[in-house]
């Protein structure tokens, strides 16, 4: 097995294109354990961390560009980013220990294509777009369309996710991400729920996005839950309806981390709770702004 550390995207793509057994990595927090568990060794591992654009987190006008290989800790330590996307930041901050978060990346979390990836529901509810370096230049794909099944993505072998584009949220908008794990840290999500809400001036929901992780082969967007929330004042009835819709949208499996019934039940609970947190964040921010 060879190790390569290209400094440009083109160089990385050329290496990848020239070796069918090569893979790219950022933190290797999934790659190494998978190799230990018996996955055949790649012929080459291509380290993306020497490519500046893949490591940077920056605000370009009203759009955040998050490098696909930037470690989670680059997000959790970025106060401006965290203020815009508290839920996504939470999700990034839930991936493993501090040791892991200093290596794990959003690009890796997405392309590993685990149904339980914490950051993906949070990216999806924020309409994140993956910028992908391809043979014929860059293409932009909604994050929701990148993963096609467990361990499967829509990327060609020689394509690399460069960064994620996230439009700054409009006023009255915030997000939240919750997951259920048996311990307080170090586990893979049994269920994950990301919610983004926009509240109008009267405090009613004008827009909502709900996405669930670990309850289906890929992250699930839940339009029925969104519909239940939109137009409501987040009253108990609306929250209960959203929770029920979330439970219904699950297509989970029984596995070592949870049962079908458990995942269904908890998906609803977390959806309801995450909606409440997102709304509280908006209200808190509005309260602060209201004073000016």
């Amino acid at each position: 097995m060879k190790y390569a550390a290209p400094t440009t995207i083109d160089e990385a793509r050329t290496l990848l294109a020239g070796d069918a057994g090569a893979i790219v990595f950022a933190g290797a927090t999934d790659v190494v354990p998978q190799m230990r568990a018996g996955r055949p060794e790649p012929s080459m591992v291509i380290d993306l961390k020497k490519i500046d654009r893949l490591m940077s987190v920056s605000l370009d006008g009203d759009t955040w560009q998050v490098g696909a290989a930037a470690p989670s800790s680059a997000l959790t330590s970025n106060a401006a980013f965290a203020a815009d996307f508290p839920g996504l930041t939470e999700a990034a901050g839930l991936i493993g220990s501090d040791q892991i978060q200093n290596r794990s990346s959003l690009g890796g979390n997405l392309c590993n294509a685990s149904p339980a990836a914490d950051s993906v529901p949070a990216l999806v509810v924020n309409d994140a777009v993956a910028v992908i370096a391809a043979a014929d230049g860059e293409r932009r794909v909604p994050v929701a369309d990148v993963v096609t099944g467990p361990g499967q993505t829509s990327l060609a072998h020689d394509e690399i996710v460069v960064c994620f584009e996230l439009a700054r949220p409009a006023g009255g908008t915030s997000d939240a991400y919750l997951r259920l794990i048996p311990r307080t840290e170090m586990d893979i999500a049994v269920v994950g729920a990301g919610v983004r809400l926009t509240l109008d001036d009267s405090g009613n929901v004008s827009a909502a996005a709900v996405a669930l992780g670990a309850v289906a082969p890929t992250v699930v967007r839940v339009p029925a839950a969104e519909a239940a929330l939109v137009g409501s004042s987040l009253d108990d009835t609306a929250l209960a309806a959203a929770a029920a819709a979330a439970s219904d949208a699950c297509n989970p499996i029984d596995d070592k981390r949870g049962t079908i019934n458990y995942r269904r039940q908890v998906a609803g609970v977390l959806t309801r709770r995450a909606a409440g947190i997102a709304a509280d964040r908006i209200r808190t921010r509005n309260g602060q702004n209201g004073a000016s």
Binding site: Y3, A5, V32, D47, D98, Q99, I100, T184, E185
Partner: protein, 159 residues
Amino acid sequence: MSRTHVNCEVNGDAVDFLTEDGESLLNALRDELGLIGAKEGCGTGDCGACSVIMNGRLQCACLIFAPEADGAAITTCEGLASADELHPLQQCFLEGAALQCGICTPGFLIAAKALLDENPDPTETEVRYALAGNLCRCTGYDKIVRSVLEAAVQIRTPA
């Protein structure tokens, strides 16, 4: 088989070693440089016994490919003490009986150092979450957490 030549700085010393590309930094530190403080408890980033600080960031050396260390600055448990004095964390661990078998101790010390470098006055909860990536099966964590909190006090208010 060909091996890659890696130059880096470990505990302030310029060092170099040869490694197979697929080897972990952990094995390189232990086998090539003889720095046995970092331990392999799992090899998958789940136990923290191999914690090192590389380029200012706390990481598991078992997840780092050895060639990644080229040009990097690395601190291991062996680099905590000065010639004549232990690091306050080491001293507090000794006095607070924060180790039993000791296999996890180097990793805890490094993780705790990374925490205190960033947050010199952590709460108990912050200590517990910052150390959640380090498994200890002997102590129940009680004396480790107390010792880290005590070391934080000592570092903030040197005698």
